[in-house]
Amino acid sequence: MGTYNLLWSIAKRNVTTVLLGITISDRCVNIISVTGESMHPTFTAADRVLQGDFVLAERRCLEKYEFSHGDVILFKCPSNHKELFVKRLIALPGEWVQLPGSPKVTKIPEGHCWVEGDNAARSLDSRSFGPIPLGLVQGRVTHIIWPPSKIGQVERKMPEGRISQI
């Protein structure tokens, strides 16, 4: 009888912890490991989950969907909903973006945004799949928490002369 009660209380505590963890990671903040080389040098190029940088992705921005230019955001890949990408937000709805190396200028439709990786040569981003709907965004990356040499805030950076407001 004593053993049964112990197991029940351990089970209850674990379920509570799991529920609390899921709620916090849905509402407040999530910890993500960034792999791939598209955001070098902001995030270390890495192949495996344990070698990548661990970052903090905040979810409070999803209540109003108000983003700024140069934010690093986490979003679902438009051609595969199970994959998450981390890229920098370059242009917001209603702005005009010029593709590098071509005279073509694209207008970002309502509710969409233009994302690009910092490492332009090795990045699969809006230059290939076009503007993405803001509904795919899953969070904004604010801090790097591992490795210790890179701990700090992720800065907002914008490439020069790529977008136009009018």
Binding site: L19, L20, I22, R27, E110, G111, H112, P133, G135, L136
Partner: protein, 167 residues
């Protein structure tokens, strides 16, 4: 004066604090449980508008939403789904899936005025959605195929008609 302080010291502060803390924990646990069930298992949604007539009423219907199937990728042609609008991420809309990735969809470009139709192939990872009421619906015919990642749930039951039936 000292009587007041003596009474103050006599109040069982520690047990009151203990009670308050356990009540607050209970409220937090209930909130977390409701959040997890609503976002990840099953939820209710109030949907209104003309775009899904006659399936969904103009004045609104309460619908039961299944969140598990959408996350597992088990959405098929003919399902009514709840998705984040590609034109405004703060809006959630209900539409019917008419084409999965790779399907060839033929649709009427302007159903009220002409018979012209167009055929498109749905790209990888996307779905083609249309409202049942094609005369009053803003859907993939206007904004193109939408990425599957925008789908938040699959509608499987109308709760409001069950309530009316029971009473």
């Amino acid at each position: 004066m000292s009587g007041f302080f003596r009474r103050l010291a006599g109040i069982p502060w520690r047990s009151i604090a203990g009670d308050a803390f356990s009540r607050a924990l209970l409220v937090a646990q209930a909130y977390c449980a409701v959040h997890v069930v609503d976002q990840h298992l099953c939820s209710l949604a109030f949907v209104r508008g003309p775009s899904m007539l006659p399936a969904i009423n103009l004045a609104g219907d309460v619908l039961a939403v299944d969140r598990v199937s959408a996350r597992l990728g088990r959405v098929e042609n003919g399902d009514v789904v709840l998705m984040i609008s590609p034109e405004d991420p703060r809006k959630v809309v209900a539409k019917r899936v008419l084409g999965m990735e790779g399907d060839s969809v033929t649709y009427l470009v302007d159903p009220g005025n002409s018979d012209a139709s167009k055929t498109v192939v749905v790209p990888q990872g996307h779905v083609w959605v249309q409202g049942d009421n094609i005369y009053a619906s803003k859907d993939s015919r206007q904004f193109g195929a939408v990425p599957y990642g925008l789908i938040t749930g699959k509608i499987f039951c109308r709760v409001s008609s069950v309530i009316f039936f029971a009473s």
